[in-house]
């Protein structure tokens, strides 16, 4: 590895593009694998693909978050054959709401919030957005909101799990010299080093 902290901006930009493409590819894979998992209750999804969106957010910022999650929803739905179906609308509505909340949370508490905090915000946004779309498009009946507490509880748990996964991923990614030039890097690797040391 010849990379160092004084890499040229061009190299840094190419590197960013390559990693974003990798994150999208991994997110699409997780999105697809998750559909294959047994699903005892409809609509309860772990949202594992969000791990990669979080990783992109903490490595490259808010724009990268939107790139990874929107690309993941489009490509994932294309692969599964659900593009533009009601299921896709639910996915997109959830994704947009999740991204909005995650962006706002990240921006608002920039130096205080960690991957778990952002992940939980995203998970809550995701189920709320999904239920909103379900209510608008699929079932126009107010009883659907009675499901919200259960969805929120599940989102809280899956949000924590995904956030922790993203935190571990970031901590080990940041040991790699390719991520040496990043600003956000500091506190996450400090925290990780403190835990391991």
């Amino acid at each position: 590895m010849t990379s160092s902290a004084v890499d040229s901006p061009e190299l840094e930009q190419v590197r960013r593009r390559v990693f974003l493409a990798l994150f999208v590819a991994l997110a699409v894979a997780l999105h697809t694998v998750e559909v294959l998992l047994p699903n005892p209750l409809p609509w309860f999804r772990l949202g594992l693909a969000n791990i990669l969106a979080l990783t992109a957010l903490f490595s490259y910022g808010i724009q990268a978050l939107w790139v990874v999650s929107i690309a993941r929803i489009l490509i994932g739905s294309l692969l599964l054959g659900s593009l533009f179906s009601p299921g896709f609308l639910l996915s997109l509505g959830g994704g947009l709401a999740a991204n909005t909340l995650m962006s706002v949370g990240y921006k608002l508490w920039q130096n205080k919030i960690g991957p778990v905090g952002v992940s939980v915000l995203g998970a809550l946004g995701h189920v709320t957005g999904q239920l909103l779309i379900a209510w608008l498009v699929v079932i126009r009946h107010p009883s659907i909101w009675m499901l919200l507490p259960f969805f929120l509880l599940f989102a809280l748990i899956s949000g924590i799990v995904n956030g922790l996964a993203a935190d571990y991923l970031l901590a080990s990614l940041y040991k790699h010299p390719a991520f040496a030039g990043l600003k956000k890097k500091q506190d996450i690797s400090n925290r990780a080093a403190h835990l391991e040391g």
Binding site: W109, K112, I113, G114, V116, G117, V120, L121, L124, R140, H141, P142, S143, W145, M146, L148, P149, L152, L153, L156, I160, G163, L164, D167, Y168, D187, R191, A192, L195
Partner: protein
């Protein structure tokens, strides 16, 4: 110590955020309590209202549909379908309707049973298609 190891991976802000969110999630379980009790049950078939009754009067009603007679039971402030000639019996499994806005439907027998609240204008709020 190992069991709470994951908490150490959170920033102090994340921990506070989690507590706030957990409280909100617990509070959201109180949401069903805000539902208004229904006042009367309205049965329609083929877009015509064929039967209206108050929910607090106990009775069994025989409703006529294209397939035959569907029996609706009104008891203890709730309405449920107890027998129906339809093949899947989905309507029977829908259970009880007792809150304003609740709906029971037997699609094969073309019956829609809805529970309405007390005030006239209020219970149309949820559905602007029917307004």
């Amino acid at each position: 110590m190992k069991a709470i190891g994951w908490v150490q991976r959170l920033t102090p802000f994340d921990r506070k955020l989690l507590v706030v969110v957990a409280v909100l999630v617990v509070l959201s379980f109180l949401l069903p309590l805000t539902q208004k009790a229904g006042a009367r049950v309205v049965v329609s078939s083929d877009n015509r209202i064929i039967f209206v009754a108050p929910l607090d009067k106990e009775q069994r009603v025989e409703l006529d549909g294209p397939l035959g007679i569907t029996v609706l039971q009104i008891k203890d402030g709730g309405a449920r379908i107890v027998s129906s000639p339809c093949p899947q019996k989905v309507c029977i499994h829908m259970g009880e309707a007792r809150h304003a806005g609740d709906l029971l439907a037997c699609v094969p027998n073309q019956l829609v049973i809805s529970v309405e609240g007390n005030e006239k204008g209020e219970d149309t709020e949820y559905d602007f298609i029917s307004r």
